[in-house]
C-alpha cells in the first residue's frame, strides 16, 4: 500500500527561502473520463470488462438497436447506450455513452445498504461491492440514481462495476480504459480528468459548434468518479437516460441517519414505558385482591 504522503515535497535543490509546495499532496482520488464525443461505440470496453472479470456470456436478442442489451446486467457491467437524437434542424445525432457504475462521491447504494461491509468506498473514490457480505436485499438497487447494481437470481447477490479495483490497486488502469481504441476513455486523478474534460468541452464549444458542450460530474451527489464530456451537457437525459440531477431518495438521507435511530428509540420507549408502569403504577389484578399484608 502506498503511503498517502509519499508524493509530498520534502526539499528542493538549491532553492533559497521557504520550500514552495511543501506538504502539498496530490489528489489521490481516481477518475474515469468518458468523452462521448469521440466514442465510436465499438464495444471494446464491453468485451474487456466481460473478459477481465471472467463473466459468463449473456444471451441477448435483437432489439432494433446496436445496443447490446437494454440495461447492464449482473454479468455485464459495462454497456454502451446508443441513442438516435433528432436535432431541431432535423439532422440526426447518434449518441453513444458508455454506461457503468459512476462511483459517486456520495453513493446511494452504500447509503441504502443494510448489510455490514457489503459496500465499501475507498479513499480513492472507488465504490466496491463485497459479495461475501451482500445479503441480496437489493436496497442498493433503489438507492442508485443510475440503475447500476444488478441482482443475480442464482447467487442472490448484487453485482456491479468495480472500476477494476483489483487492477487499480496494482497500479493498472481499468480494463475498459486499456481496451479503448480511440482514447475516448481516460483514467487518472479526478483533478486531471476534470481538467482534460473541461478543456475538451471548451474545444467543442469553440471549434466544433457545440455551444452547450460540457462536463457531467453531478454535484447533487457530490460528484462522481466517472465523468462524461457531453455534446450537450444541458440535456444528459438524451444519452440513454443519464439523470440531469441525480438524487439519492430522501428517505435514505432522512430515514436512515435521523429517523431510524430516533423512531427506533421511540419504539423502545414502549418497552421502557411498560416497565415504568409496572414499577410505579403496578399491575392490575383481578378483583377482589387478597388484602395486603400489614406491616
Amino acid at each position: 500500500m502506498s503511503d498517502r504522503r509519499t508524493l509530498q515535497i520534502k526539499q528542493i535543490s538549491a532553492h533559497p527561502g521557504p520550500i514552495p509546495g511543501e506538504g502539498v499532496q496530490r489528489d489521490l482520488e481516481v477518475c474515469k473520463l468518458v468523452d462521448t464525443t469521440t466514442c465510436i461505440g465499438c464495444k471494446a470496453c464491453e468485451v474487456a470488462c466481460v473478459e477481465w472479470n471472467d463473466m459468463p456470456f449473456s444471451v441477448t436478442t435483437f432489439d432494433n438497436t446496436y445496443q447490446t442489451m437494454p440495461e447492464t446486467r449482473w454479468n455485464f457491467w459495462n454497456l454502451i447506450k446508443f441513442n438516435e437524437h433528432q436535432k431541431e434542424d432535423g439532422t440526426i445525432q447518434w449518441l453513444m455513452r458508455k454506461d457503468q457504475c459512476m462511483h459517486c462521491a456520495d453513493p446511494g447504494c452504500l447509503r441504502a445498504c443494510p448489510a455490514d461491509g457489503a459496500i465499501v468506498q475507498y479513499s480513492n473514490g472507488i465504490v466496491d461491492f463485497n459479495q461475501e457480505n451482500c445479503i441480496g436485499c437489493e436496497f442498493c438497487v433503489s438507492g442508485c440514481p443510475f440503475n447500476i447494481p444488478k441482482f443475480n437470481q442464482t447467487t442472490k447477490k448484487v453485482y456491479k462495476c468495480t472500476l477494476c479495483s483489483d487492477r487499480v490497486g496494482q497500479g493498472l488502469e481499468p480494463a475498459c480504459i486499456k481496451a479503448c481504441p480511440t482514447g475516448c476513455l481516460k483514467f487518472g486523478t479526478k483533478d486531471d480528468m476534470k481538467f482534460i474534460a473541461e478543456e475538451r468541452a471548451k474545444q467543442l464549444r469553440e471549434h466544433s459548434g457545440y455551444a452547450n458542450a460540457g462536463v457531467y460530474d453531478p454535484q447533487s451527489i457530490g460528484g462522481t468518479h466517472v465523468i462524461y464530456v457531453l455534446h450537450d451537457a444541458t440535456r444528459p437525459e438524451l444519452y440513454g437516460g443519464l439523470p440531469k440531477d441525480p438524487q439519492i431518495p430522501w428517505s435514505y438521507t432522512v430515514w436512515k441517519w435521523l429517523a431510524k435511530p430516533v423512531l427506533g428509540t421511540l419504539a423502545l420507549f414502549g418497552l421502557l414505558g411498560v416497565c415504568l408502569h409496572y414499577v410505579t403504577v403496578g399491575p392490575r389484578k383481578p378483583q377482589p385482591e387478597p388484602p395486603r399484608k400489614e406491616r
Binding site: 465499438c42 466481460v50 446496436y66 480511440t182
Partner: protein, 850 residues
C-alpha cells in the same frame, strides 16, 4: 495507404467516404480522433448510412450508394471554379501541363474516343500525350490548327506498333493550352455542377456546397500549409467503376497538392489484417510479388516479357524522371532466382518459362463462373469462405455442386465446406451432389507466427500465442505436405512439364514444415555472389541478406522473393520484429517500429511535401528536405526519391510513374474505362444516368451470361437501393462462432429508414424479406432514422443496408434463431473492369414484410 495510420493525426481535414473506419478499423480510428483533438481537424463523412464514423464527424452527408464519382467530380469542379488548388504543385508535380493528343474526346455522351461497341473495349491510342516541347505561351497557336508536335512521326507506315508514351512530352506550363490535361480536366468536371451532384447523389445542393467549401478551405488564398486526407475502404472499390472512384479521389488530392504530405494522401483502409500483404505477395491473378506483371502467352521469351513490362521515361524534355520501374529486370530476375534457385540461369531465360502464362481473366467472379460452367473442376479454399463472399452466393453453391472436389482449410465448419447442406437443399438433392469435400484443420491467426502487413504497409512480425489445438496444422505445413506429395508424383511419373515443379527452390531446414522466418528471409533476398557497390565500395558477401532493393541485380547474383520487401530482413536481423518507440520528429513516423515498404518509408512520394526548391510546404511538418550542403535529400522520413537529385534538375516526385509526376490524366491502357473517371450508374440503378441517359452504365463492364446471372430493374419492382457492410462487433463470417461476439450482436438484421418502414407498416424487430433479381434474404428489421429517404433525380428513393455476417453455420444459426439466408445471395455478379472487384454496394432490391 500512401501515408499511414498514425500519420492521419497530422491532418487538418478528413474526407471519409466509401469506408467506415470507426466500425471496421476502430483501432486505427484513434488517429482521426487525435487529429480532431490536437489539430482541430475537421472530419467530413459521406456515406449511405449515418455510421459510427459519421457519429463523430463534423459534417455528415448521406449519399446514394455508388454515386461517389459524381460527388468527387463535383468537388474537383468546385476546387477549380473557386481556385482552391495548389498551383505550383499542380504544374510541377502532376501532368496538368502535359498536352494530350489530338483526337482524344471527352465523354459528353458517356464514351471516350476509341470505343468499340461490339467488343465493349476501348482502342486507347488517342489516350496519349502529344510528343513535343515547351508550348507555354503558344497555346492559341497550338489550338488553332496544325499540332506543333510531330504526331505523324508517331505513326509511320505499315502496321502500327503498340502505342507507347512519347519520350518527350509536349507541355504548357501556363496550363492554357486547350488540350493540356488541366483544361481537359476542367472541361470534364465542369459538367459536375452542384445541381448535377444533387440529382445524382441525392445530397442537397446547399449541403454539398457546405462540404465542398469546408474540404477545399485548406487551399484558401493559395495557402499551402494545410493538408487534407482522403480515407476510404471497400465502399469505393466494390462498384462496377470502383477503381475510377479512387482515381477521382487521387486526382482531387493531386489538384489540391495533398499527396506525399504528412496528413495527406489517398488512404485505402484494408479490410483484413493482412490483405495488404496478400496483394504485395501476389494474391491477385495478374501480378507476381512486388506488383510485377504476370507473363502472358504473347511473351515469347524473357526479353519480350521485360520489354512489355518495363516502362521508359516519358516527360517534358526539360524535366527529369527517375522512372523507378526501369529497374523491373532486376526485380524480375531476382524473383526468378528466388523461385527456382540454381535452376534459373541466364541460358534458360532465368527459368522464365516455368512461370504460368495467363491467357484470360482468372479473377474471383470468373473462377466461380468458370466452375459454374464446368470449366473449373476443383478448388482450394484457404482462409476464406467462398460461398459467403459471393457475389450471388447461390451461384457459388451451384458451382460447387458441379465441382469434382473441394479442399477447405478452416478453423470452423463453414458455409463453403458445408455448401451441400445450404438451406433449400433436400436430403435427396444432397445425395446427388458428387463433389468430394476435404476438410483440413487450419490454425488460427494466434496459432501461427509470421508477419501481418497493415494498411500503412508495415510488416509487423507476430509470435505464436498458442499452439494449434488437436490435429490443426499451420498453413505452411499443410501446403508443404501437399507440395512435397505433388513433387514426388512428378518425380515418379514424370508428366507434361515437370521442370517447374521439380526445380522449385525448396531449401528449407524442415521441408515438411518450413519456418516462416526462413520464408521471410527468402522473400527479402540475399546475394548469391559477392557484389560491390561501385560508388561506396561496400561489398555484400555471397549468402548475406540484402539491405535493400537498390542492391538487386539482373545478372543472377541476387535473389529476392519480393523486391518491395527487400530490406525487411537484413543482416541486422528481422526489421519486422523491431519495436522501437522513438519518434524524434513528433510526426508519428516511428522509424524503428517494424518496417514499412518501400525501404521503411512511412509516407510515399514524400518529395512532394516540399516545394520546387526542396523546402517543406509546411515548416512545422518537416518530412524530408533538400540539404544543400550535403547535396542530398535528408529528413525525418526516408526520402522516397533519388537521394542526390538536385531540385534544379526538376525530377518528378512520383518516381513510379514514367512521367515522374502524378497522373490527372491516365494515358494508354492503365485504365480500361477512361483516362478520367466518368460517372456511370451502378449496374442496377433506379434512374437513367443524368449525365448521359443513353450511356447509363460503365461501357466496358460485361455482364455474365449464365442462367444464374440476373439483373433487376425498377420496372420489375426492385425499387430500393441496397448496400452491404460489416459491423464492429463481427469479423466477416467467423465470429458468428464466438459467443462473445454473438452476445454483442446476436442476430442478422436489415437497416430500414423509418419512412420506408412506415409505408410498409414494418416495425422494429419484424421479420422482413429482401428480394433481389437473384435471391431472397430474410432478417429482422432495424428501423432507424440514421438512413433518410432521398431525392434522386427528383424521385423519392430509399436505401437499406444489410450487414453480411450471418450464414447457415454459427451459434445463432445452429440454434435455429436465423433464417439462414446469406446477404451475398442478393448481390450481383458484376465486376469492376480494372480491379475485377464485384459490385457489392448499391444494387436494387424490393422489401416486404416476411
Amino acid at each position: 495507404m500512401t501515408n499511414g495510420w498514425i500519420d492521419i493525426k497530422n491532418t487538418d481535414m478528413m474526407l471519409i467516404m466509401g469506408g467506415n473506419p470507426a466500425e471496421n478499423h476502430p483501432c486505427g480510428f484513434k488517429w482521426p480522433i487525435e487529429a480532431k483533438l490536437h489539430r482541430n481537424a475537421k472530419m467530413i463523412v459521406v456515406d449511405p448510412r449515418l455510421t459510427r464514423t459519421a457519429a463523430t464527424a463534423d459534417l455528415y452527408l448521406q449519399i446514394r450508394a455508388g454515386a461517389d464519382i459524381a460527388f468527387l467530380g463535383g468537388l474537383i469542379n468546385y476546387a477549380i471554379q473557386n481556385n482552391r488548388i495548389a498551383h505550383e504543385y499542380l504544374v510541377n508535380y502532376t501532368n496538368a501541363a502535359f498536352i494530350v493528343r489530338e483526337g482524344f474526346k471527352l465523354p459528353e455522351d458517356g464514351l471516350y474516343s476509341g470505343f468499340d461497341a461490339e467488343k465493349k473495349v476501348y482502342d486507347k491510342a488517342t489516350w496519349n500525350y502529344e510528343e513535343g516541347g515547351n508550348l507555354t505561351g503558344k497555346a492559341v497557336a497550338g489550338a488553332a490548327g496544325d499540332p506543333p508536335a510531330k504526331v505523324a512521326a508517331a505513326k509511320p507506315g505499315g502496321a502500327p506498333p503498340p502505342p507507347m508514351l512519347p519520350p518527350k512530352v509536349a507541355y504548357d506550363l501556363s496550363l492554357q493550352h486547350p488540350r493540356c490535361v488541366f483544361q481537359l480536366l476542367r472541361q470534364q468536371y465542369s459538367r459536375y455542377t452542384p445541381e448535377m451532384v444533387e440529382r445524382i447523389t441525392g445530397i442537397p445542393k446547399d449541403q454539398f456546397l457546405k462540404a465542398a467549401d469546408l474540404f477545399t478551405s485548406i487551399r484558401k488564398d493559395g495557402d499551402m500549409k494545410k493538408v487534407a486526407t482522403i480515407i476510404y475502404a471497400v465502399g469505393w472499390t466494390q462498384h462496377s467503376f470502383g477503381t475510377q472512384i479512387i482515381r477521382t479521389a487521387a486526382m482531387l488530392q493531386l489538384l489540391m497538392g495533398n499527396v506525399g504530405r504528412a496528413g495527406g494522401g489517398v488512404n485505402a483502409l484494408r479490410g483484413h489484417s493482412n490483405i495488404q500483404g496478400a496483394t504485395d505477395m501476389a494474391g491477385v491473378f495478374d501480378i507476381l510479388p512486388g506488383y510485377l506483371k504476370m507473363a502472358n502467352p504473347a511473351d515469347t521469351d524473357f526479353a519480350a516479357y521485360l520489354k512489355r513490362i518495363t516502362p521508359t521515361a516519358a516527360k517534358p524534355d526539360a524535366w527529369d524522371s527517375f522512372n523507378y520501374w526501369s529497374n523491373t529486370p532486376k526485380f524480375a530476375v531476382s524473383f526468378l532466382k528466388a523461385m527456382y534457385g540454381p535452376a534459373a540461369t541466364k541460358q534458360n531465360d532465368w527459368a522464365f518459362h516455368y512461370l504460368p502464362k495467363i491467357d484470360r481473366n482468372y479473377s474471383w467472379v470468373n473462377i466461380w463462373n468458370d466452375m459454374y460452367e464446368g470449366k473449373v473442376k476443383g478448388l482450394f479454399a484457404f482462409g476464406m469462405n467462398g460461398v459467403m463472399i459471393g457475389p450471388d452466393s447461390q451461384k457459388n453453391i451451384e458451382a460447387l455442386k458441379k465441382a469434382d472436389w473441394l479442399v477447405v482449410c478452416e478453423v470452423y465448419p463453414d458455409e463453403t465446406s458445408e455448401f451441400w447442406r445450404a438451406p433449400g437443399i433436400s436430403t435427396d438433392e444432397m445425395k446427388k451432389i458428387n463433389t468430394t469435400v476435404y476438410r483440413l484443420p487450419g490454425a488460427g491467426f494466434a496459432e501461427k507466427d509470421g508477419t501481418f502487413v497493415n494498411s500503412a504497409r508495415w510488416l509487423q512480425w507476430k509470435n505464436v500465442a498458442l499452439p494449434p489445438p488437436g490435429q490443426a496444422k499451420v498453413d505452411q505445413e499443410i501446403l508443404a505436405t501437399i507440395f512435397l506429395k505433388v513433387r514426388e508424383l512428378y518425380q515418379k511419373q514424370g508428366g507434361k512439364f515437370p521442370d517447374a515443379i521439380l526445380n522449385l527452390s525448396w531449401a528449407y531446414t524442415d521441408p515438411k514444415n518450413p519456418s516462416l522466418a526462413e520464408a521471410a528471409k527468402e522473400i527479402n533476398g540475399k546475394a548469391l555472389a559477392d557484389i560491390t557497390d561501385p560508388k561506396t565500395n561496400q561489398t555484400i558477401k555471397a549468402g548475406q541478406q540484402l539491405p535493400g532493393f537498390a542492391w538487386l541485380k539482373d545478372d543472377g547474383t541476387t535473389m529476392s522473393g519480393n523486391w518491395l520487401y527487400c530490406g525487411s530482413w537484413t543482416e541486422a536481423g528481422a526489421m519486422t520484429q523491431r519495436r522501437g518507440t522513438e519518434d524524434p520528429s513528433g510526426l508519428g513516423i516511428y522509424p524503428n517500429w517494424a518496417w514499412s515498404w518501400p525501404m521503411n518509408r512511412r509516407v510515399m512520394y514524400n518529395r512532394a511535401s516540399c516545394n520546387l526548391d526542396g523546402k517543406p510546404w509546411d515548416p512545422s511538418r518537416r518530412q524530408v528536405w533538400w540539404d544543400e550542403t550535403k547535396q542530398s535529400w535528408v529528413g525525418n522520413d526516408v526520402p522516397d526519391f533519388k537521394p542526390d537529385s538536385n531540385p534544379k534538375d526538376h525530377m518528378g516526385p512520383f518516381i513510379m510513374n514514367p512521367e515522374g509526376v502524378g497522373r490527372l490524366f491516365v494515358p494508354l491502357g492503365a485504365m480500361a474505362d477512361g483516362p478520367f473517371p466518368e460517372y456511370y450508374e451502378p449496374i442496377e440503378s433506379p434512374i437513367a444516368n443524368p449525365l448521359h441517359p443513353n450511356q447509363n452504365n460503365n461501357p466496358v463492364v460485361k455482364k455474365y451470361k449464365t442462367d444464374m446471372d440476373k439483373y433487376g430493374t425498377v420496372d420489375q419492382g426492385y425499387n430500393v437501393i441496397c448496400t452491404t457492410y460489416r459491423l464492429t462487433e463481427h469479423y466477416h463470417y467467423w465470429t458468428k462462432n464466438n459467443p462473445m461476439n454473438v452476445q454483442l450482436v446476436p442476430e442478422p438484421f436489415v437497416e430500414i429508414p423509418v419512412e420506408l418502414a412506415d409505408k410498409l407498416t414494418i416495425r422494429g424487430g419484424d421479420k422482413v424479406k429482401v428480394t433481389s433479381a437473384r435471391s431472397t434474404y430474410i432478417a429482422k428489421a432495424m428501423v432507424t432514422r440514421r438512413i433518410r429517404p432521398m431525392k434522386i433525380d427528383g424521385k423519392e428513393t430509399f436505401q437499406i443496408g444489410i450487414p453480411i455476417h450471418w450464414g447457415f453455420r454459427g451459434i445463432a444459426e445452429d440454434e435455429g434463431k436465423t433464417a439462414k439466408t446469406l446477404a451475398n445471395q442478393l448481390t450481383p455478379t458484376v465486376i469492376d473492369p480494372n480491379a475485377f472487384t464485384p459490385e457489392f454496394k448499391g444494387f436494387l432490391v424490393k422489401l416486404e414484410k416476411a
